[in-house]
Subunit: 153 residues, 2 copies
């Protein structure tokens, strides 16, 4: 699963680079479907990933305010910061934790850590698929979503 | 990985159900981004998945013509037929085959079976994300993409 997370992080960084060709207004514009704007989608991906990983760690939920991260640069810094934590934690612990039953404050159900990591992975890929449509609607080529042909380290 | 494939198949079936509320004209209409139409996206997902699995099996590529499957019903039958093969094969063999190096006629590179299965999984989730935007653009609620909260068997 860590390979999938690393794939997602690589693709996410390519989307941060892709953002550079757009104005902040375009990045924050409300679009049809998904969670709204391009930048809010990236924020949402980062927020959801980190919240669930903290859930697996048994840590309390951290409320992050989009208001404080409304540029690609600020969001990329947040993404880098969280990613380091997540990578260190999951690379060391995920195999042992797979069966751990996790409950979180924002969901009534309990899930295993393994289910949650599957959820995180699918969640990001799904939202990136949405960004790719908005990209084409803007007349722009989206970053590739191919898993193969990448050097995932 | 088989859990991810089963998730994809469950979501795909929900999209086939979702298709029932649209006319064939809407389903075949060329849209911006992705691979074109809603129905062609579903065909493409099925085609790519089966082609790569046949590649892992060392079988030759099977050319499937979209012309023969241009209704949700025909496409769903194709999906069901292939899925049975894929599930039987991967459930039995994937663990042993992960490191197998695979070459296919449509790609110059060689990949491990494990990379290919990752690719198949991400490929479908990405395209489903695209469908979800088109769904909202049509004023329709898309099927959920959540991995958690499903009964995946």
């Amino acid at each position: 699963m860590i390979k999938f997370l690393k794939y997602n992080w690589q693709v996410r960084d390519e989307w941060f680079d892709w953002c550079e060709q757009l104005t902040l207004e375009e990045l924050l514009k409300t679009r049809v479907g998904g969670v709204g704007s391009i930048l809010y989608t990236l924020f949402h991906i980062i927020d959801v990933e980190y919240s669930w990983v903290r859930g697996i760690q048994g840590k309390g939920d951290l409320v992050i305010h989009f208001e404080n991260y409304k540029t690609p640069e600020k969001l990329k810094s947040l993404s880098d910061e969280f990613r380091k934590d997540i990578n260190d934690f999951l690379e060391t612990n995920l195999d042992d934790l797979k069966g751990k039953v996790v409950t979180v404050p924002w969901d009534d159900e309990a899930y295993t850590a393994d289910e949650i990591v599957h959820h995180i992975v699918a969640h990001e890929i799904h939202h990136i698929g949405q960004l790719s449509i908005w990209s084409r609607e803007l007349g722009l080529k989206p970053p590739s979503a191919n898993f193969i042909g990448r050097n995932i380290t």
